[in-house]
């Protein structure tokens, strides 16, 4: 299975290595660097590489490469999924997954890696279980530790791993018992030049934050579960109950977790919350072009659209942009050729507009096609698919928990072709 792991930063330095079997020289990474060089963009590095004696499977997360070395046949997704789990765990422990934070906590990271894999086979990847064995650092604890010399390594076997609910640790206690659920939906869409929808779908996720004492057994039911077309669950959800009754019944892990991912059936027409009027053109004569974008609300269900942002990857030939925005600010990055227009709240009375001229390189033929617009937006208190949680029941514990559900709609991969 997974033989070794190298963490490589953006500029190509290996700053952490871990070997689960015998040690493999870091020179094996040269093949990776070669591919990295060839790929121009870090996103374009092929995830699976073949070298004479090893196979390299890598992921790119947070400007870091997690490069694993494999020697024999293994399902590549197995490795990729695991590497992402490592990144998730680091993020969960330290709040972010970056070179700096890993270097600062190198010992804890190393201990985590030691626990997560045994001889290349995943051992404990549940964050609840790991936290029992290796406690995440907090300011208070590090102060206490330095004063008393005690450690952040748990001295017990993970109790959760032995029970039939391995994702939950035993003996959880809170003074305030609360369970919050965020229903977050993302609209993936491609609109064409004229504004018609080429493709649109809604992907949703329910993020939960559950802090409940003891072993609560929760049941979450929906007003309209029929909307959900395809779902995937956290292992805690009882699939049988879902199949028969369309309710989510589960003993939750402690803390934050993703309860379910869902896809809204494609029969339902997807409401597109905004429309975009745009014209980008480059002139045949003279080194310049024109840009004019207006955005307005379309189907917002009476809510306001916030955090509007438009990102455009300009053609290489565009040297600079000289624009005026009626609302928000725009920036144009000269090296990456990315134009970002940060609009903020969308005001239906006064539609935001960005217009002006683009200067292009002299002597270079005008760009063949127009760049597409990537749109970002947020709508609070709305699940665009119309999904509604009807109730949350708790069994198995006596106390009354505080419950809350929040809805949020975001733009996922929302693209307007021009």
């Amino acid at each position: 299975m997974i033989h070794s792991l190298f963490l490589i930063n953006h500029s190509g330095d290996i700053f952490l290595e871990k070997h689960w079997k015998s040690v493999i020289s870091r020179s094996v990474c040269d093949y990776f660097f070669e591919a990295r060089e060839k790929a121009v963009d870090p996103e374009n590095v092929p995830p699976v590489l073949q070298t004479p004696h090893h196979y390299l499977i890598s992921i790119y997360r947070g400007k870091l490469f997690f490069l694993s070395v494999i020697q024999t046949e293994v399902a590549p997704l197995f490795v990729i999924e695991f590497l992402h789990r490592v990144a998730d765990t680091i993020q969960d422990y330290f709040g972010e997954c970056s070179e700096g934070i890993i270097k600062d906590n190198i010992v804890t990271v190393y201990e985590l890696l030691e626990e997560m894999l045994d001889n290349g086979f995943p051992l404990a990847t549940e964050s609840n279980v790991l936290k029992e064995m290796i406690r995440p650092p907090t300011i208070l604890r590090s102060v206490v530790n330095t004063l008393t010399g005690s450690s952040n390594v748990g001295d017990t076997l993970p109790t959760g791993q032995l029970s039939n609910v391995p994702w939950r640790r035993a003996g959880v206690k809170y003074t305030n018992n609360e369970a919050y659920f965020d229903v977050i939906e993302e609209i993936d869409a491609i609109l064409d030049k004229s504004g018609t929808t080429v493709f649109a779908e809604i992907q949703g996720v329910i993020e939960a934050c559950v802090r409940l004492t003891g072993m609560p057994d929760l049941t979450l039911s929906f007003m309209n579960p029929r909307l959900l077309d395809d779902v995937s669950f956290h292992p805690c959800v009882r699939f049988k109950r879902w199949e028969s009754e369309r309710v989510l019944s589960f003993i939750p892990p402690d803390g934050n977790f993703t309860l379910m991912n869902y896809h809204v059936s494609s029969q339902n027409l997807v409401a597109i919350p905004v429309y975009v009027k745009q014209s980008i053109s480059f002139f045949e004569t003279g080194p310049c072009g024109r840009l004019d974008i207006t955005i307005g609300p379309k189907q917002t269900m009476g809510k306001t659209v916030e955090n509007m942002m438009v990102t455009i990857h300009m053609p290489k030939a565009v040297l600079n942009a000289n624009l005026t925005a009626t609302q928000g600010t725009y920036t144009y990055d000269l090296t990456t050729k990315v134009l970002v227009w940060d609009i903020g709240k969308l005001n239906p009375q006064k539609l935001p507009n960005l217009r002006g001229s683009l200067s292009t390189q002299v002597g270079v033929p005008k760009p063949e096609d127009n760049p597409s617009l990537n749109i970002d937006l947020k709508i609070q208190q709305l699940a665009i698919s119309g999904l509604k949680v009807s109730r949350l029941d708790m069994y198995g514990e006596k106390y009354k928990p505080f419950k809350g559900v929040k809805y949020l709609t975001k733009a996922g991969k929302f693209q307007v072709r021009t």
Partner: protein, 991 residues
């Protein structure tokens, strides 16, 4: 190119340290015998491997900076790493303060993580292995595991220190051959441990020991065999992993555990699921016959044939009967299906490949949605999933066609993702959707990513050849692209048009003319060559233009690229043959130029062409055929997918991903023409009987635990079979049962060998009752017991196993079940046993619906000659099946069943029965219930459901002082409650 320098501080010792390392992590590279003149050849991680040869004349340890040219463009600060610091660490490690030691260890682990060498600290570190501080200990382990291989002697010393607390995981991670025997012992011991966690660790250790010393294979296989029997979900994944690593070819070990693994699968941790599924895929391909046969029938409800059809498969093959899926095959498919909803993408993918490789064709579709869902995941996941979809979509367009839009490309996708999506879209194209796809392609062609645009043009070409309706449209579209500004786009279009014209050699002279006009503006050699080739090939269609093109080319010949030159020579030759009047001189000129070209390919070609086309005395018979050689009609190139032959690899594997066989890849075998004996898997039915004879019984804790687990499992299967087998009774057609009878004739002798193992039930809860004594039965004797398995025929039935023995001196024929009373009694009979030889016995399973009452089921057991009335009277405890619930659930449910539904009694316990194990044992011997884990010591709880109606039966036992106890039963079936109470009371009070 930016040139920068990276500084490397190489620390070199000339002392006699046996393991001098660079800050590389390779194991030692030079022995002590080498002189201080050290020659290191050390590849650095720059793009070009720079070889360094150092000549150092050293008198003292020194730090030498080295400058290495590197192309990454970053200046790295030299990291100071020098001797004094390590001395420092050594001092800290030898101090008395825990905190100092801990600090030192942390720094050392930091060094390891960075790949720095700290092996000289080994002695100092190892001393701390016996420390009481758990974190310190863990860090020492980390260090030990990293360096043990290099410092074997010292590592051995340390083993003695920590073997007290025998941490198998660390022990097994130390790759020192000498400890193999110790490891072997430890593994064997751990494999029989009470805690499933420890058993899991031992499964992991098996692989490590195997990689350390493959000679131990045989012994390890024994351990694997034992662990495979384990019922804990925790162990299953790890042991299958070990199996895959050590002895993947020992398929025979799986047989007996096959059904158990299938049933446990849902509860195994996600990584284990992936491994088990891939193993089961291989297993199934060797054990079942292909469900892909023509005219196959896919009967969901054929669980009927579960036990009584050993040779069925064989029969079917020979008689070419409609295909009936092996129930075990179905079991696998059914139990893996829920895993499509897993959050783990690897699990979803492995289920998808299982369905792809094992399921009947029309069932594969259920994986589509889940695979498409994975496309929302990380970039790397998308890449792998798209690769697999690309392979699948070649064979099965229909699967992904409804999801076509999910493969639309976004400008933000990575290039390799875009190309894969394009590949899939092309595969999915058919007459109905081609216009949509082409419209989509039009936007892609304009993409700024030119490599992608080129790939799109290729894709258009493929669509055009595959779907004849759109060939013209595509061709026109491509011709329009010829006036594109971008060179690569034009070049690619030319190449594709060339291929298209070849497949469609009709009237396309317009296009060729158009291309000839554009020729001057095209600079990409491949495109130029393609146009020239087209001119030559179809020179008779463009008789005026071709010679003119040749004239132009003659002028620029010397400046052209090699492939273009070759095509110029070709064109010249072809024109010479068709139109020698106009082109004779030009051809001569070109051939002369070619004769003196620098490239020998071109010189060769020129010489060859000259001999072929220009008649002279030397050229022989070939000359006559020159025209036929050069202007022969050429087969059109086939434009096909790059994923065409990927299906030779199992989907989802690394080999599939890299399109070449990876080390350790195991070929998926073809379906056997005749299924191997399927009775080998039948063991599970009588497993409770067998279990105690296997060696890991002596402890009681795991007893109750495995009970619990199996009950969980059985609940699952019962609901499952409830779903699928309902109505199987009615649906089985006449012909089918007849057919089965025929098979029986062959089967009976096979069965003979088995029962010997069955007839000795020694396991506590399983009691055997007499059904028919051989005296009254004229030689036929029958015994029965309740296997406590969920009944496979109908969930409301109680499974009964009957052992029929022939103690007479002649064979008995046609043993079957005759009349039954009460008349409405619902019995699932065993199939008629055609013949039972003297002294032979056979075990058959029946299902009886007792409707939750202890009323006896009376029926007649018939042979050919006689009929015997027999009756089965179930003990009340056998009418239950275990139910798993948490303690909270239990108390909650108990709260609902108070008053009338509660029956209780105070009993005086026999002194032998006061331990919790004894209580569980006694209760379980009486009733088929599940143990509910309890947080209080003096409370014991058991839960079950009645088989027929599914009513809850909750048993709780509260121990009071001086061996008295309060036994309470809560259930709405009050009659059962009182009977159960009586039985339990008896069991618990007797010694």
């Amino acid at each position: 190119m930016a040139i920068s320098f990276q500084l490397f501080f190489l620390e070199l010792f000339y002392t006699t340290n046996a393991h001098t390392n660079f800050n590389s992590n390779s194991s030692s590279s030079c022995g002590s015998s080498q002189p201080a003149w050290l020659k290191y050849i050390y590849p650095l991680n720059s793009q070009k491997c720079t070889t360094l040869v150092l000549h150092l004349n050293m008198t003292s340890p020194t730090v030498y900076p080295l400058c290495v040219e590197q192309t990454t463009g970053v200046v790295v600060q030299p990291q100071l790493f020098s001797v004094p610091r390590n001395e420092d660490l050594k001092e800290m490690l030898e101090s008395n303060k825990e905190s100092l030691k801990l600090e030192a260890m942390k720094r050392i682990v930091g060094l390891i993580a960075k790949g720095k060498n700290s092996s000289e600290l080994f002695p100092a570190v190892v001393k701390n292995v016996a420390s009481k501080n758990i974190e310190l200990k863990k860090l020492v382990y980390v260090y030990l595991v990293r360096y043990a291989e290099e410092q074997q002697d010292l590592a051995l010393l340390s083993i003695r220190l920590f073997s007290v607390s025998l941490a198998l995981r660390v022990l097994s991670s130390i790759r020192v051959p000498i400890i193999v025997p110790i490891m072997m012992l430890a593994i064997k011991e751990a494999a029989a441990d009470l805690s499933p966690y420890v058993r899991k660790t031992s499964a992991h250790a098996i692989q490590k020991l195997y990689s350390l010393d493959p000679d131990q294979k045989e012994q390890l296989i024994e351990v694997i065999e034992k662990l495979l029997k384990d019922k804990s979900t925790l162990v299953a994944g790890s042991v299958v992993m070990a199996f895959e690593e050590v002895c993947p070819d020992r398929i025979d070990l799986i047989h007996k555990n096959y059904r158990k693994l299938c049933n446990l699968l849902v509860d195994v941790e996600e990584w284990g699921q992936v491994v088990i599924i891939s193993m089961l895929t291989r297993y199934a391909r060797t054990q079942f016959t292909s469900p892909w046969t023509e005219g196959a029938t896919f009967d969901e409800n054929n669980e009927k044939t579960f036990y009584d059809s050993d040779s069925e498969e064989k029969k079917e093959q020979t008689e070419a009967k409609p295909y009936i899926m092996d129930p075990d095959h179905r079991l696998l498919l059914r139990n893996t299906k829920p895993l499509l909803q897993s959050r783990n993408t690897a699990v979803v993918m492995s289920v998808a490949q299982l369905y792809w490789h094992l399921a009947p064709k029309h069932e594969v579709n259920i994986v589509t949605k889940s695979l498409v869902r994975l496309l929302r995941s990380h970039r790397e996941v998308q890449f792998i999933v798209l690769q697999n979809i690309a392979t699948m979509s070649i064979q099965r367009k229909g699967m992904f066609e409804p999801f076509m839009k999910s493969f639309y490309v976004r400008s933000t996708d990575a290039t390799h993702i875009k190309t894969l999506k394009l590949e899939i879209l092309t595969n999915l194209a058919n007459e109905a959707n081609i216009s949509t796809i082409l419209r989509e392609f039009q936007t892609y062609v304009k993409s700024q990513d030119k490599a992608f645009a080129a790939a799109t043009i290729q894709a258009i070409g493929r669509c055009a050849t595959n779907i004849s309706e759109v060939t013209d449209t595509c061709l026109n579209g491509l011709v329009l692209l010829l006036s594109n500004r971008d060179e690569t786009v034009v070049a690619e279009s030319v190449v594709v048009i060339k291929k298209l014209l070849q497949t469609q050699p009709t009237q396309h002279s317009e296009i060729i003319k158009h291309m000839a006009k554009l020729f001057d503006n095209i600079t990409v050699p491949m495109a130029r060559a393609s146009i020239l080739w087209l001119m030559g090939e179809y020179c008779e269609r463009v008789p005026k233009i071709a010679p003119d093109v040749l004239r132009k080319m003659a002028k620029t010949f010397t400046a052209e690229e090699d492939i273009v030159k070759l095509q110029i020579v070709n064109l010249a030759a072809k024109l010479y043959l068709t139109n020698s009047k106009q082109t004779k001189l030009l051809t001569q000129y070109i051939l002369n130029l070619g004769k003196y070209d620098q490239n020998y390919d071109i010189r060769d070609r020129t010489r060859f062409i000259r001999q072929l086309i220009v008649p002279n005395e030397k050229s022989g018979a070939l000359n006559k055929y020159a025209r036929r050689i050069l202007l022969a009609p050429k087969p059109a190139p086939v434009l096909e997918s790059a994923f065409k032959d990927r299906d030779r690899f199992q989907l989802g594997t690394l080999s599939h991903s890299i399109n070449s066989k990876a080390t350790g890849y195991q070929e998926l075998s073809d379906w056997p023409a005749v299924a191997p004996d399927q009775s080998v898997r039948n063991v599970e039915v009588i497993e409770p009987v067998r279990n105690p004879s296997s060696s890991h019984t002596p402890y009681h804790k795991s007893d109750s635990e495995s009970e619990e687990e199996s009950s969980e499992e059985s609940e699952k299967t019962s609901t499952d079979s409830g779903k699928s087998s309902s109505g199987s009774e009615n649906s089985s057609s006449e012909s089918e049962s007849e057919q089965k009878k025929k098979k029986k004739t062959k089967k009976a002798p096979q069965k003979k060998s088995k029962p010997t193992a069955v007839t000795t039930p020694s396991f506590g809860p399983v009691k055997t009752y007499e059904l028919l004594h051989h005296m009254t039965g004229k030689g036929l004797s029958a015994k029965y017991h309740f296997p406590r398995q969920p009944c496979l025929y109908e969930p409301s039935m109680v499974a009964v196993q009957v052992i029929l023995t022939n103690s007479s001196d002649h064979s008995l024929e046609e043993i079957h079940i005759g009349e039954r009373s009460p008349a409405g009694l619902n019995i699932h009979c065993f199939n008629t046993i055609e013949r039972l030889e003297p002294e032979a016995s056979v075990t058959v399973s029946m299902g009886i619906d007792f409707s939750d009452s202890t009323q006896a089921a009376n029926f007649q057991l018939c042979t050919k000659e006689n009929q015997f009335s027999v009756s089965i009277q179930p003990a009340v405890g056998e009418l239950l099946m275990p139910s798993t619930m948490t303690e909270q659930d239990f108390t909650k449910e108990q709260g609902k069943l108070l008053g009338m539904n509660e029956t209780s009694a105070t009993i005086t316990m026999a002194t032998a029965n006061t331990s919790s194990q004894a209580i569980s044992k006694q209760v379980l011997s009486v009733a088929n219930v599940g143990v509910v884990s309890s947080s209080q010591n003096n409370f014991h709880r058991f839960a079950g459901r009645t088989v027929s109606s599914g009513a809850l039966v909750l048993v709780s036992l509260e121990l009071k002082e001086s061996s008295s106890a309060l036994l309470t039963i809560n259930t709405e079936k009050s009659v059962m409650a009182s009977m159960l109470l009586r039985d339990l009371k008896q069991a618990l009070t007797q010694a």
